[in-house]
Amino acid sequence: MAGLATAFGSGAMTNTIGEIEDAKAILVIGSNTTENHPVIGYRIKRAVKKGAKLIVADPRYIELCDYADSYLQLKPGTNIALLNALAHVIIKEGLADEAFIKDRTENFAALKATVEKYTPEYAAEITGVPAEEIVKAARLYAEAEVASIFYTMGITQHTTGTNNVLAVANLAMLTGNMGKPSGGVNPLRGQNNVQGACDMGALPNVFTGYQKVTDDAARAKFAKAWGVELAGKDGLTVTDMLDAAGSKDVRAMYIMGENPYLSDPDSTHVQQCMGSLDFLVVQDMFMTETAEFADVVLPAVSWAEKEGTFVNTERRVQKVNPALKPRGNAKADWQILTQLATKLGFDWEYDCAEDIFKEIAALTPSYAGVTYDRLGVMGIHWPCPDEVHPGTPILHVDKFSRGLGHFSAVEHQDPAEVPDEQYPFILTTGRILYHYHTGTMTRRSEGLKQIHNEELMELNPLDAQALGVEECDTVKVSSRRGSVKSRLKVTDRVPPGVVFMTFHFKETAANILTNSESCPTAKIPELKVCAVNVEKA
């Protein structure tokens, strides 16, 4: 997010899902799209059938590789070397869009100077991807009439996350693939309303619509609307919050609908931090692993029992409608928050979700024209500044949100943890088709449970042979932070030296192993790379 905001002035997906099929080339990097965003995966496959060239960059041989014209099997944590090398080839071979660079961007000289040394051969050494394959991929991407890029956590969950994103943005600007249909830079949001949570200011530094808390005018506007005084310094991010709980700087926490004990890196540390709190409130549908630590647990209704809106990954605001009555005494999160605010002496009056939405629209320029009535069956893409505005499917059309697109020169940097003698494997984590996040919902679904109900850590056949283990055997996986036991899937989807686990299963909580070392700018932890040892259990 921080990366795209620096490059373009907005952190959101630039184009829409509907445009995918008409792309002439697609680069998928760090996104196992067919499992994590299945319907977007369908579109990418259809684009290929319609003739698009597909480039997949991923340490694992994911399903999309079957459809790829070029597969770049890079070592985990070497994205920048690869992306810089692609830029290098594009510039060297005269495939850059000179006019676009000149008219719409700044700081190209710095990029050019930096990528100079990232020859395909140099990048091959770092990434393990053959130099010829890098050249081929660069040509496929840059020669296409219009090309789009898709990425997810495989790019962001690194200590270099923000720089990874900047390197992605560089490629799109270099080739003029911005602001036009079927192009752009498209971060796919993992959860149903990540985009909405960000838009709504559930972030330490911004109010709704990315209005900065440090901006006096913005603060004055919200202070007036809310009838309160507001603090003007950025708050703590999730990782810092937990650390601050550990150090007793944070004393009380309110956690709504999240399960950081399983979803955040280094679970043991998370547990210690939460244990140090004086007071913890957790609001959820179920007694999650995190809720177990709480002093008060508040029962929230499911999405099917309430009204509101979600924003999908392509900035489309869509309606959520109540189908069921609340179960037991559970309440909608907005009702609980309103009740608590009243207890705390704030003057909140909301009779329904729509009342809240109207307040949001009034305070948020990019949502100003959105009303419940207008959402219909199609929803509306923000920005939508007024009630006759049709919404904005494609961002940065004539100019970037920040004015000129900004190239950033970024360098490869090793992951925080690299394999060594004691921990010779790289663990990378992610999700699978049949489960979601920490499994709170999917593991309570009969069918999904029946199809898949345990971790099967992926291990390359060569490594399996060396360790003397076989499919379905149980192994002990250890990192500097802890160890878990998991059953095995022996598969060449992962290259030798790399193992893959999900974080869906509490019995084999992968985040006991992961490293909380984060990207200094985005504060996203390096969940995609940590060093582990694997032994027969």
Binding site: G18, N36, V39, Y42, K49, L188, G190, Q191, N192, N193, V194, A197, C198, M200, A202, W226, L230, A231, L236, M241, A244, V250, R251, A252, M253, Y254, I255, M256, G257, S263, P265, V281, M285, M287, D295, V296, A300, W303, A304, N312, T313, Q318, V320, N321, R327, G328, K331, D333, W334, T338, A341, K343, Y350, I360, G379, E446, G447, K523, P525, L527
Partner: protein, 350 residues
């Protein structure tokens, strides 16, 4: 776009050239029956249910594959057309089990609806009824291929939309069926259980296991909503009867054209998982005990106020959620910020 002039059931209509007769008719609200047609799939022209009469043409062309031409005069419900459709229905019934009484599809079955529409009550032909064993091995849907009318939509959906290509036509003649590569159970195939084949099957050959015997299609309320799982934001209709979800149908008119994956299509039953939290809980001596909302709220308010008074507002922090609504995220940050701290975030970074 050039337009052509045609006459549809006596009505003069202008249509974009390149459209099919079926599309032209649909655009003006004329309903032509179809079995094998789906707007986003390649055209099969296989079932001939959609035939129409075109002045000057000797045969009855299939409207789903016939493009409009200038001056075309079309009748969609002439006697010839009706007779042709009746014969197709009768032929179909010759091999189709007549168990509408207990079939889950009753009420949303095209074979049943068209039989009603054209007054066909079975078949004069004595056909051989197939005896293919029911495939109920996967957790999501039944495959009763005895009811399959071989429209091929499931095959095309699976290949053209999903890309999984799990099923195809196999064998020939009477033995023809749509099945997996080695005629194995579906979970041995490349099927990813998106359910998109289930939702376009015109008859009761593919039936979701959820909601079995829990009501006919017309008895359920259909509530449009947005998927609670990934960020693709598929929308669909929840079918609700007696305050229970009994099924899902895609929003074919929506932005994703009705595409879904296994989680959205079949993964909603966590809603009534027996371990849902139904009342506030307060921890006393290490054990959770049930409390009223009033008690819980009083406790939280007094604790937050206490912490704020003693350690300052920044000793309070909150994690909002990428899974709750915009309205709730908005209120969450409003609450924390109103208490005087910007310590608010959510786990989207993760």
């Amino acid at each position: 776009m050039t337009k052509v002039n045609i006459t549809l059931n006596g009505q003069a209509v202008q249509v974009e050239s390149g459209k099919t007769v079926l599309e032209a008719a649909q655009a003006v609200g004329i309903d032509i029956p179809t079995f094998c047609h789906d707007p986003e799939l390649s055209k099969a022209g296989a079932c001939r249910m959609c035939v129409v009469e075109v002045a000057g043409a000797r045969n009855l062309p299939a409207s789903c594959t016939t493009p409009v031409t200038e001056g075309m005069v079309i009748e969609t419900e002439s006697d010839r057309v009706i007779n042709a459709r009746k014969s197709i229905l009768k032929l179909t019934w010759a091999g189709h089990p007549q168990d509408c009484l207990t079939c889950e599809k009753t009420g949303s079955c095209k074979l049943q609806d068209y039989s009603y529409r054209y007054d066909v009550d079975g078949s004069p032909y004595k056909g051989e009824v197939k005896e293919i064993p029911l495939d109920d091995t996967n957790p999501f849907f039944f495959r009763d291929l005895n009811k399959c009318i071989l429209c091929g939509k499931c095959v095309r959906k699976c290949h053209e939309v999903n890309g999984a290509g799990a099923i195809d036509f196999m064998y020939r003649g009477f033995g023809t069926k749509v099945t997996t590569a080695f005629d194995d159970a579906i979970e041995e195939s490349s099927c990813v259980f998106c359910g998109m084949c289930v939702d376009i099957c015109p008859v009761g050959a593919l039936t979701p296991k959820q909601g079995l015997n829990q009501g006919r299609a017309w008895e359920a309320d259909k509530v449009l909503t947005t998927c609670p799982y990934c960020g693709s934001g598929c929308t669909f209709y929840l079918h609700v009867r007696d305050d229970k979800i009994v099924g899902v149908t895609p929003n074919f008119e929506g932005p994703m054209d009705g595409h879904l994956c296994v989680k959205g299509r079949f993964g909603w039953d966590f809603v009534d998982s027996p371990d849902r939290l139904k009342t506030p809980l307060i921890k006393k001596d290490g054990e959770f005990v049930e409390a009223t909302w009033e008690e819980a709220m009083d406790l939280i308010a007094s604790k937050f106020e206490g912490v704020r008074a003693q350690f300052g507002a920044d000793a309070i922090a909150g994690l909002s959620s990428a899974r709750t609504t915009n309205e709730e995220n908005y209120l969450f940050q409003k609450l924390l910020r109103s208490m005087g701290t910007n310590n608010v975030d959510h786990c989207a970074r993760l």
